[in-house]
């Protein structure tokens, strides 16, 4: 399979030796990670280890201090604002709190990129938004509501619809199940798997939720002290051979990772 004219065997997105210092702390100390088209990578790790920062360096929201971000093999680490805006057409992101715009209705949120970046006529954009709402199983009667009128699960669905509406090549999920009950969380996981398969995109998710990681990942990587300390197929997570991974997977306070309290 090839996406955007690139061979399927090369990584769609890669972090190469990415470093970032924030607030006097070396949050990322040389992250090397990549994901190919059609694959789903989940990054696990404790709170504050830099999982969100890793995603944001790829988006250019937080600039990397050193290393490279490559999209389709092209170094985009220092892309200017105009190039960055064009590059963002390849990305979709579901934020932890959904990050829907309070002042816009649900359908306007979903169609935001189509209306404001792609300059699509509003009627056409609304039709696309409604179609995408159906895909994420969000009933059309919520289209004219405002985000504050939706439950947490519905907000996640709306956020997911906004992320996929323009059929991105790379999808990011930041703690997609945080704050949701187990049933809603499982429904969101199912949707993520379905959408990634449907779009054939490269997906990178970050989570603490091992049930979610097992369900949506082809591969799992663990970030600890600013570096990827283990990476392997999702099926190998229970016999990783890494004391750090085992402690994290089993949620034990005792082990090489110190609990932050």
């Amino acid at each position: 399979m090839s996406v955007a004219g690139k061979p399927a065997n090369g990584p769609k997105l890669a972090w190469v030796g990415v470093k970032k210092r924030l607030g006097g702390r070396d949050v990322l100390q040389g992250v090397d990670l990549d994901v190919a088209a059609g694959r789903s990578l989940v990054v696990i790790g404790g709170s504050g280890v830099g999982k969100s920062v890793t995603l944001k360096t790829a988006l250019g929201i937080i600039p990397a201090d050193a290393g490279e971000i490559r999209v389709d093999g092209e170094d985009v680490t220092h892309a200017d604002t105009r190039r960055r805006a064009a590059l963002m057409a390849k990305f979709g992101m579901l934020f932890q709190g959904a990050a829907l715009f309070d002042s816009l209705t649900v359908w306007e949120n979903i169609a935001f990129r189509l209306i404001h970046a792609d300059r699509m006529p509003r009627a056409e954009a609304k039709a696309r938004a409604l179609e995408t709402m159906r895909k994420v199983r969000l009933a059309p009667e919520f289209a004219e509501r405002y985000p504050v009128e939706l439950s947490g699960g519905m907000q996640k669905r709306a956020g997911l619809a906004r992320a996929i509406v323009s059929r991105p090549e790379i999808l990011f999920f930041d703690e997609p199940t945080t704050g949701l009950d187990p049933i809603t969380a499982d429904a969101i996981n199912d949707l993520i798997v379905e959408m990634v398969k449907d779009l054939g995109c490269a997906a990178v998710s970050i989570t603490h939720d091992m049930a979610s990681a097992r369900k949506i990942a082809d591969e799992i990587a663990m970030l600890h002290q600013g570096k990827i300390i283990w990476r392997g197929p999702a099926a190998d997570i229970d016999h990783s051979g890494s004391a750090h991974v085992e402690q994290f997977v089993h949620g034990r306070a005792d082990g090489p990772i110190q609990a932050v309290v």
Partner: protein
């Protein structure tokens, strides 16, 4: 900590903040002229920043005009100069009190509102979301607010001038025994276009300061509700100080 460190660290911190705010202002100003423009957003901000500020500006102006007339009458009576009330009221309102008091009221209403709104967007990752949706936050969020403030503040001050003068007129005619027609004739005869232009120039400058400071502190806010609250407070305090400083600078540079 030694004396140099006590003075040096805050000084460096302040200079860093001034530099960051200046760069933010320059980027915001440039975004106002770069495509794409968002006319719908500009129109929405004109309504929110301009139209919805009319009541507070109008009420401020009418009471200031009325109180000014009373004070000038009291002071003028000591020199048998009570007849100058209309002249001094119109001069004081158009050149100074109209723009400055409207600016200070708007620093509270608009600057705090912008800082709270944009600060909340920052801490809930809505600004990051804009970036991921191929939309430059400076063009979509900041530029429309800046354009709206710079365009509507002179109009608000023009309204404040008229209402302020009418406040003086009501007191002059109602309480101080002035003839209405004479009061208005003296007002119009004494007023020069330059007086009004000075006030409107100040208003545009204050609009720039208020919008930039509100957006700047909101854009940089972090740390949840506490951070947003701090951003709103800082926006009002810094806008207020900058308005008073800018008022002096513009007045002193204005050809007499």
């Amino acid at each position: 900590m030694n004396l140099f460190a006590r003075i040096g660290y805050p000084t460096i911190g302040m200079l860093r903040e001034v530099g960051a705010a200046s760069l933010f202002a320059a980027r915001a100003a440039r975004a106002c002229f770069d495509a794409p423009m968002y006319p719908g957003q500009i129109a929405r901000q004109v309504m929110r920043i301009g139209w919805l500020s009319l009541p507070v500006v109008g009420l401020t102006a009418v009471f200031i005009g009325a109180a000014l007339a009373l004070n000038i009458y009291t002071g003028g009576a000591r020199f048998n100069a009570e007849q100058f009330v209309p002249n001094i009221v119109v001069l004081g309102i158009t050149r100074e009190l109209g723009p400055v008091l409207a600016g200070l009221m708007l620093a509270g209403r608009v600057s705090a509102g912008l800082a709270a709104e944009i600060g909340t967007m920052r801490v809930t990752e809505q600004i990051d979301a804009l970036t991921t949706l191929s939309t430059d936050p400076f063009k979509f969020l900041i530029a429309p607010r800046l354009i709206a403030a710079v365009a509507t503040f002179p109009l608000l001050v023009l309204v404040a001038d008229i209402i302020g003068v009418m406040g003086g007129y009501l007191v002059g005619v109602g309480s101080l025994g002035f003839n209405g027609a004479v009061y208005l004739r003296n007002t119009l005869n004494f007023l020069e276009a330059g007086d009004v232009m000075l006030g409107l120039t100040k208003a545009a400058a204050f609009g720039f300061v208020i919008a930039v400071m509100g957006c700047y502190f909101g854009f940089r806010s972090k740390g949840g509700a506490l951070g947003v609250g701090r951003a709103a407070t800082n926006a009002v305090v810094v806008s207020t100080v900058l308005i008073l400083a800018a008022n002096y600078v513009i007045t002193s540079m204005w050809p007499s």
